[in-house]
């Protein structure tokens, strides 16, 4: 429980700070705040991942003032689908790699977010952002995977989890 709380707090912090990093598109973010979510998934605790996701989205967006905004709904929707997809991937095998889970999560997250955006504006235009989002998502997904992998090893060695 302590680990989950610490990771959730981490998530909120990254969620808020991440906005300051320049992004190649007028909308979107890098997705580094998904690192805590990924970590807990790699520990095999998908339900806790949902919890962390919701905490970081709700608290984070309240801090930056985007709670219940379109961006918030897109992010949460994409996040939930990503957690479900990563969970499914985990459940299928006990031998998965961090990169595989992370990249799957990022891809599902981006595709769903763009679909939600398209549904909200009732127009197909947001999909034009998808190529860049997918490529950017892969970069941060690999970065997240590395961080999460290291974290899991530390957590295991210290028997925190």
């Amino acid at each position: 429980m302590v680990v989950v709380a610490v990771l959730a707090a981490f998530g909120v912090a990254i969620y808020v700070v991440e906005r300051l990093i320049p992004f190649p598109l007028p909308v979107g973010r890098w997705g580094l705040s998904n690192y805590p979510v990924l970590t807990i998934i790699l520990c095999g605790r998908a339900p806790d991942a949902l919890l962390i996701l919701i905490v970081k989205s709700v608290v984070g967006s309240m801090i930056i003032g985007s709670f219940l905004s379109p961006q918030f709904i897109m992010g949460l929707g994409g996040g939930i689908c990503a957690v479900l997809a990563m969970w499914a991937l985990e459940a299928c095998s006990n031998k998965v790699s961090a990169v595989r889970v992370s990249v799957t999560g990022a891809t599902v997250n981006n595709v769903i977010q763009v679909l939600i955006a398209s549904a909200m504006v009732k127009n197909w235009a947001p999909t034009a952002y998808l190529p860049v989002l997918l490529i950017v998502g892969e970069i941060s997904a690999v970065a997240n995977a590395y961080l999460a992998w290291k974290t899991v090893i530390i957590l295991k060695e210290g028997r925190f989890i």
Partner: protein, 130 residues
């Protein structure tokens, strides 16, 4: 026992990494494949009077009620258009020079609008202030 198997990377991951890139390129390619790759249209007083593909080199005389106004030049290899020999006083339309996809040439005195229509990507400019 289970979690000791956790790896950072395995060879199979390449497949997972390459697939989204593939999708990205696939989606990026859609607008070009389905949209028209550029059509030159000429309007006089809001009415469409001429239309031709941007890729066909041609010149076309712009006339209204038999009166000569201007000449449209389409360079198919450069995919650009311009107006020349306009009868208007300031020749702003001639000075506009060559324009490509998404651009337009306006001749206010003769109420001519030449547009180069075609799909532009979402990341591009919506409007220009000048």
């Amino acid at each position: 026992m289970k979690r000791n198997d956790l790896q950072f990377f395995s060879r199979l991951d390449l497949f997972f990494i390459v697939t989204p890139i593939f999708i990205a390129f696939f989606i990026a390619a859609i607008p070009q494949a389905s949209g028209k790759n550029g059509v030159v249209t000429v309007y006089i007083s809001g009415e469409l009077v001429y239309e031709q593909p941007l890729t066909r080199t041609a010149t076309w005389v712009v006339k209204s009620d038999g009166e000569y106004l201007s000449t449209l030049v389409v360079d198919g290899s450069k995919e650009k258009v311009k107006l020349v020999d306009s009868n208007c006083p300031l020749k702003i339309c001639e000075r506009t020079g060559w324009v490509g996809i998404g651009g337009s040439i306006v001749c206010v005195p003769n109420k001519i609008v030449v547009k180069v229509e075609g799909k532009t990507k979402a990341s591009e400019i919506d409007i220009v202030t000048w």
